[in-house]
């Protein structure tokens, strides 16, 4: 069925969970600033109590890290909001479909991968910044090139939003990637190990040192642990143009863009 009602209807999907025919707006509308801004207001009022105003999670799960939302297509995301999610605390929201679609647009934007953004920077120059003057590859690697103390960025464009990337570069202390906090460990033998804590509880901890060695400590052998509480990464000291180039380069990093190297 085709129709000419507003929102440039593309198709009508029978959606069993909703029990009704759901009208799916055009993809351009769902990525438009108009829908995202409208959805943000609705989200803050209806969803913020559990997911946080910015969608980064509180009592309810984080919707910005991509892990949850990217598994759902738009109709399933719509149905989750309209009908709730059985077996969880997520209730259904009986609001007009058009408003729910605006919330869908906002929620989708939270984890929209950078590779889908059209950035203006120069990718080759960004590569030169990453592997050269910027010093990024001293701690990060892409496809095996670089060092491993910081998170691997081979898939950064596919898993991070532009906003997250920009924040990581300009304000790295704003959030520390899990498993990448700086740590200093003193053993009962008196020896010291410094690196990043991949994991820690009261009984064991795992530390990756700067030479790429993994230390698996039993807590009984440890005298003290000092966590820096800061990101080991310094804020990028780059000119605006270099930052733009670096963002453009990082936004292109995706492990799935490469087809087979040699097909027979």
């Amino acid at each position: 069925m085709r129709t000419t009602v507003p929102l440039l209807i593309l198709f009508v999907a029978h959606f069993p969970a909703a029990g009704v025919d759901v009208v799916v707006p055009d993809a351009d509308y769902l990525t438009s600033a108009e829908a995202v801004v409208a959805g943000q207001k609705l989200f803050a009022a209806a969803c913020g109590a559990c997911h946080g105003r910015s969608g980064e999670g509180a009592r309810g799960p984080n919707l910005a890290d991509g892990g949850l939302i990217r598994r759902l297509n738009n109709t399933r995301l719509f149905a989750s909001i309209k009908n709730g999610v059985p077996g969880t605390d997520m209730p259904g929201f009986p609001m007009a479909d058009a408003k729910i679609w605006q919330i869908v647009a906002f929620v989708r934007s939270l984890s929209s991968p950078a590779i889908e953004a059209r950035l203006e920077g120069d990718v080759p120059r960004g590569s030169a910044v990453f592997f050269g003057a910027g010093g990024c590859s001293g701690c990060h690697s892409i496809r095996g090139r670089g060092a491993s103390l910081g998170p691997d960025l081979s898939n950064a464009g596919a898993v991070m939003t532009v906003k997250q990337m920009r924040e990581s570069l300009t304000d790295p202390g704003a959030r520390i990637a899990a498993g990448f906090g700086g740590v200093s460990v003193r053993l009962k033998s008196g020896e010291m190990v410094e690196g990043i804590a991949k994991n820690r509880n009261n009984y064991s901890l795992q530390v990756l040192d700067s030479k790429g060695m993994m230390h698996l400590f039993d807590a009984r052998d440890v005298d003290s642990v000092r966590e820096s509480g800061k990101s080991p990464m310094p804020p990028a000291r780059l000119k605006a143009e270099e930052l733009g180039d670096l963002l453009a380069f990082l936004s292109k990093q995706s492990v799935r863009t490469e087809a087979g190297r040699k097909r027979r």
Partner: protein, 530 residues
Amino acid sequence: MRIALILLASVCLAQQAPRYEDVMASPGKNWLTYHGDYRATRHSPLRQINAGNVASVVPKWTYHVDGATKLEASPIVVDGLMYVTNSNEVTALDARTGRRVWRYREANAKLSSVNRGVAVMGERVFFVTSDCHLVALHRITGALLWNSRYANSEENYFCTLAPLAVKDRVMVGVGGGERGMRGFVAAFSGSTGEELWRFNTVPKAGEPGADTWDKFNTDWGGGGTWMNGTYDPELNLVYWPTGNPWPDYYTGERRGDNLYTCSVVALDVNTGKLRWYFQFMPGDYHDWDSQSIPVLVDADWKGKTRKLLLHPNRNGWFYVIDRVTGEFLNATPFVDRMNWAKGMDAKGRPIEIPGLVPNANGVKICPSVRGASNWMSPSWNPDTKLLYVPTLEQCDVYSTSSQKAESMLGFSGGGGEGIPSEPGQFYLRAIDYRTGKRVWEYPMPGPGTMWAGTVSTAGGVVFFGDDDGNLVAVDATQGKHLWHYAMGQKLTASPVTFEAGGKQYVAISAGSEIYAFGLFEPVKPVPVIR
């Protein structure tokens, strides 16, 4: 940030990258391949846990894999780091504590299927995504090194197996034989991800073996390669088991032997060239993939030590083959519910009983579609010289369709259906390879739905997953119960054993969890670290 470095070899467990020589010597303290060793004997020299003390084994840790329902991986363990997989993800755990060290997820894979684990070699960990990308990760950090697509999931391929790493190369196979595709084994450079060779298990028109397909379009002939092969370093041959011809239950146009389906193919690891093949089921219509593990042993055969390949096939026959030449030596039934073949000719070709061909109304044939055994791992104890085989006694009603075979439409040519009045029953059977006779068997009451395998140890114990969610230990000589632990989940993986921090563990993937077991020790108090 500059980080000072002080090396501490005594506590730095995971610093030795496994070399080819280490993998050849596996299993020792480590468990370095899906089968533990290249030859798939799945026998560990560890004896800290043994028949005398296994009754004191307790769970040491449990790790929940988010979102998992059907874990099939054999955990791989390298110097205190354990690698497990679920669909499109690899997790590295501290093998002594079960704490996660890193996780790699491929959220953009186009399919989600089961996965049987990683291969390791040097600094790299290899795994396949469900949509058939072979991926190399750094073993310590989980960082991506390369990603090579080797089959197109839009052409019916999907991938589940643990890769097989030998020297500088990594070998993989494909699933999809139930939907129509051309099976193959491919080798990739471990360092760059470049494809080195590819062997098609179903020949293209004009290639050797194509004449065994009559007029059938071999583009869709099947011959999946969804279990990893086994490897003889001395012969430099890999033995890869192959799956059913497509459509699975079809008795229509594809008359002939349908090479190289339902076979084991011996391939030169350097070139991928076929050295020999042995076909268990010529022109099969039972969906009897030959993916049971080819176990390689050097043992006496009629007074002479020979390089043997032992294979308990889904068709209910236990085969002994000379793995140098592919010569058929013997086959004996290892199930009682067996009605389709009365024997084998001198070359190992089945002598079928007339009338037992699927038709539109259905025909009772034994074993069942699931097979007398399947991909559940057997194990071989060189001391007892017994092969321990998870075995299913079951028959099905097989039917076929007269519909024309069309690929990409989900056509499988018919099907097999259980008989409600004759439920299946699993057993662990200890088979004497010389005669094919059962020396002992251990029954497993249950629903008949498990896919769990075994591991054998020099401690005189066989560990295996049973049909009711238990990890069980029996003594290797007589099959007597020694210990069990209920994990409460359907088991779809085989146990492994390894040593970390001086202690032996037994580990298994169970549904949605990884379990590790060891000998009981009182817990010493742990002071809180400030």
